[in-house]
């Protein structure tokens, strides 16, 4: 396998710029395509090869952005259907839980065609270095045919998300060296190392195949050659690029802790324990009591340690392709025909490896300490939350699957009326995503349930972007000139 050209991959794929504590996301719209693309093409995008850059600049484009740049239909059709339809498309809203109070109509950006971003510029710098640079970029952008739709400034990076949990612990391990070779054979084990093609287009994925992406039949184009034998000779516009999911999620930190304080009758230890059960990790990030450091849930099939519906257990069930314990060819054969488990729900959720996401988001808003969070909100309560950024090669199979089938679903894993305790929508009735309950186990045997969970996370905006490789970015930004 060809080693990925790290100088052609935007750095965000490789890391989250954790040394650069300040970040701003500029969401832009293209008003005048010619100057806009000429300017965008000059931007020095940071690549994975630049390990210790003092600034990071990343560029991503939505489908409407590509259209505004004049990218032709034929090329556009090479992109994923979900990307072309966009995050706010009504059919997917029902699946993603973007309904009722989270419906796109109520978003502050991205929910309607006229407030959809075209371009995302992500700026990373040291705290003192960001402001001037950002001002300069914004000014130039507006002079070069771009409009600033929104400026989303993140909080200075620390390791805690706004509810107070250590975040950013579990990530799939990128297989830069190409040691993961899949052929489609079932793998009963869970692995943290995942085929590169799950996170970068143009490389083999967990099926050992190449995720759909735009190809260009122009030998002269300055684009990577495809390594996909089915399309030998073509230029690969997708290669070294990936899809970027951006979700602007407001967190009701007071609502979260005040709710838990109420159900815990003011008992601080109990309050924290309930919060940790909801997340599936302790506040300080350690696994829940009883689980080892590099845990899976195989030893906890009934959710006595980590509730079956806890956030991290939904977001990554950490299982292999078969129910645990099916080693040896006979057991595997039996398991293939459905005889590898005894419990009703023992094989409902499987094959995590096809549903991993690289999380690269940052939080925003002023921090709120726990004691303060228990006080009621002030009149001018500032918003806080998470700019969720997820990278994946297949929006449908990765982000949308995790968000829809696992997090938002009110019927995940045979449960009822229960969507994700952190990000669930809490709508009622029979909707796919209805659920305002949370079940867990106390003392090893006593089933417990919290009811009427308020909505802790509100969607304020979102969009699907394409995060191109460096050469692909240049190619796309020349689209008009070439027509």
């Amino acid at each position: 396998m060809t080693r990925p050209e790290q100088h052609d991959v935007q750095a965000l794929v490789g890391h989250g710029f954790s040394r650069l504590k300040a970040a701003t996301y500029l969401l832009l719209r293209i008003a005048d395509a010619d100057p806009a693309q000429r300017w965008l093409a000059t931007l020095p995008l940071t690549t994975v090869a630049e390990a210790d850059a003092r600034r990071g600049l990343q560029l991503a484009l939505t489908a409407s952005g590509l259209r505004a740049l004049g990218v032709g239909d034929q090329l556009l059709q090479g992109f994923a259907a979900e990307f072309l339809a966009g995050m706010a498309d009504p059919g997917r809203s029902r699946r993603l839980g973007d309904v009722d109070g989270n419906a796109p109509q109520g978003w502050s950006w991205g929910g309607n065609p006229d407030d959809e971003p075209h371009v995302l510029l992500a700026l990373f710098a040291r705290p003192g270095d960001l402001d001037d640079w950002q001002r300069e970029l914004t000014t130039t952008a507006t002079q070069r045919g771009l409009q600033v739709l929104t400026t989303l400034a993140s909080a200075e990076l620390d390791d805690r998300e706004p509810f107070g949990f250590v975040d950013g612990i579990s990530q799939p391990e990128l297989d830069w060296d190409g040691t993961v070779r899949r052929t489609g054979e079932l793998d009963p084990a869970y692995h943290q190392r995942i085929a590169l093609g799950e996170f970068l287009l143009g490389y083999p994925n967990e099926y050992g195949q190449y995720t759909d992406r735009p190809l260009v039949e122009d030998p002269g184009a300055d684009l990577p050659d495809t390594i996909d034998p089915d399309h030998a000779g073509a230029k690969d516009l997708g290669r070294n690029g990936t899809y970027l999911v951006f979700r602007h999620l407001a967190q009701d930190v007071r609502g979260f802790w005040r709710f838990l304080d109420r159900v815990a009758d003011g008992d601080a230890a109990r309050r924290q324990h309930l919060a940790e059960l909801m997340v599936g990790r302790r506040l300080d990030g350690r696994p829940l009591a009883g689980l080892p450091d590099d845990f899976t849930f195989a030893g906890d099939p009934d959710g006595r340690l980590a509730p079956l519906g806890s956030h991290i257990r939904r977001a990554n069930p950490r299982n292999g392709d078969l129910p645990p314990g099916n080693d040896g060819w006979l057991r595997r054969l039996l398991a293939t025909f459905g005889f590898g488990h005894r419990q009703i729900r023992g094989d409902l959720v499987a094959a995590s490896r096809f549903h991993r996401i690289l999380r690269r988001g940052r939080d925003y808003g002023p921090q709120l300490s726990l004691p303060d969070a228990l006080a009621p909100a002030s009149a001018a309560e500032p918003e806080r939350g998470l700019y969720f950024i997820g990278l994946n090669a297949s929006l449908a199979r990765q982000f949308e699957f995790v968000q829809g089938a696992w997090l938002a679903s009110g019927r995940f894993d045979g449960r009822e009326h229960e969507s994700d305790p952190l990000v669930g929508t809490r709508d009622r009735g029979d909707a796919l995503t209805a659920g305002a309950e949370f079940r867990f186990v106390d003392g090893g045997t006593r089933p417990q349930r919290l009811r009427d969970l308020p909505r802790f996370v509100q969607v304020r905006g979102g969009a699907y972007f394409f995060l191109p490789g460096i050469r692909a970015a240049r190619h796309l930004l020349r689209a008009r000139a070439q027509r």
Partner: protein, 432 residues
């Protein structure tokens, strides 16, 4: 417990009447994808023995794929399919429909050939009933009424646990207390739990005869099968290498139409139609495969899963035009994407076995290998062959198949007398 039956009526739509029929069907919905269960055409709520029903217009959008085999696609008429799964035989349900839904059904079938004001509705439907080549029931014997009662029981016990679970008690004490609470609620008329009778002896006898007979036939034909196996494999491999694969994206408007009616509740409908590869060989392989699938569905599965998939409530495979075409209809939980994931990652072999005999299917090896594992090709194949279900009725809205299994297990476990502590603990885990 009561055995489940099904009916499948397929009728030719009069030339030019499809659009008007589609409008009438749409009038049965409160909005696209959501039926009015008490609508005037087929008032589903009047049939408490009905689990699922659907009305689909079968128009083969992929008919042209036959050209890949060098043949001209015939001009097939549009068809109306009316399907249901119920707690009695399909014929019995049709009898009831012919009486209780006559005015609406007459309006509906007036769009079909051979139906006019004087037609005997019952006989007309009977004449257009098809027997599925294979059918799957997620949980044989569980009636609509039982499922609803058990769902209420599950909620009742969860509420009870909220109020009383906190007191420290052993698992067996908890079990006993819950038993008592339910007995009280039943006595007070707040819960209803009709006793579970065993399946009728006639059904069990039929099953046994079918099972033994099937095994015998298999055993007797084994020598012949073994004899022709090498030749068969040679033939098969040749076909698999040369059969054309039709890998086209589903049209954007088609996908949009399908998505509009999906994901309105936790269970979705799936209907797909395709043409069988021409020639006797694929026709034969398909018949044998469906025989095997039907046999397994009837005797091996039917208690909570079809091979590894536990999200399908009911499914059926039905031949059209004497085997030239096949349609598949199922009721599954969660989104189509997760359904397709199950297809690929859990039962790819089963999908391959059947659908690789359909035109255009992704390349297989030895009938069961690869195929669906061509992940994206397979997903395109599925979407292209899928048809919008015009009307979809589900008596279990808001309940998943597995959710119902959990409720049934809760009920059965509740009725156990004096369980051991371990057994009581395992039972309580159903509430986790």
């Amino acid at each position: 417990m009561q055995p489940q039956g099904n009916f499948t009526i397929v009728a030719r739509i009069r030339a030019g009447a499809t659009d008007a029929l589609r409008q009438l069907l749409a009038s049965m919905n409160v909005r696209p994808g959501v039926v009015d269960p008490a609508n005037a055409i087929v008032p589903f709520t009047r049939f408490p023995e009905l689990h699922f029903a659907r009305l689909v217009i079968l128009v083969d959008r992929t008919a042209d794929d036959l050209r890949a085999h060098g043949r001209q696609p015939p001009a097939d008429p549009d068809l109306l399919a009316f399907l249901g799964d119920c707690d009695r035989s399909g014929a019995q349900l049709l009898d009831r429909l012919a009486v209780e839904a006559a005015p609406g059904l007459r309006r509906l079938f007036a769009f079909c050939e051979g139906f006019d004001a004087d037609t005997d509705l019952r006989a007309w439907m009977q004449a257009r009933s098809l027997r599925p080549a294979a059918a799957y029931v997620h949980y044989q014997g569980r009636t609509v009424v039982q499922a609803a009662q058990e769902a209420k029981l599950r909620r009742f016990l969860e509420d009870w646990l909220d109020a009383n679970g906190g007191r420290s008690r052993s698992t067996t004490e908890l079990h006993a207390a819950m038993q008592e609470a339910v007995a009280g609620a039943v006595a007070a008329g707040r819960l209803e739990l009709a006793p579970l009778t065993p399946m009728p002896w006639s059904w069990r006898l039929g099953q046994t005869v079918h099972f033994v007979g099937g095994l015998l036939v298999a055993l007797l034909s084994l020598p012949v099968l073994l004899l022709i196996a090498p030749l068969f494999l040679l033939f098969l491999r040749h076909r698999e290498k040369t059969d054309p694969v039709v890998d086209l994206p589903a049209a954007t408007d088609h996908v949009a139409a399908l998505q509009t009616i999906e994901d309105h509740a936790c269970t979705n409908q799936f209907t797909a139609l395709g043409t069988v590869k021409p020639g006797w060989f694929r026709g034969l392989v398909l018949r044998a495969s469906l025989l095997a699938v039907g046999f397994a569905a009837r005797h091996v599965y039917g208690r909570g899963r079809l091979a590894r998939v536990s999200t399908i409530h009911f499914a059926r495979w039905v031949y059209l035009d004497g085997g030239r075409r096949l349609f598949f209809a199922s009721n599954y939980d969660a989104s189509l994407d997760s359904y397709m994931e199950d297809f690929i990652n859990k039962v790819g072999f089963g999908l391959n076995l059947v659908f690789s005999n359909g035109i255009g299917y992704p390349r297989t090896r030895f009938l069961v290998l690869d195929g669906a594992l061509h992940e994206q090709q397979f997903k395109r194949f599925i979407r292209r062959h899928q048809l919008p279900t015009e009307v979809y009725y589900n008596a279990h809205v808001g309940r998943t198949a597995v959710g119902m299994d959990v409720a049934t297990a809760i009920r059965r476990g509740l009725e156990v007398r004096r369980p051991s502590p371990a057994r009581a603990a395992a039972w309580l885990a159903l509430f986790h």
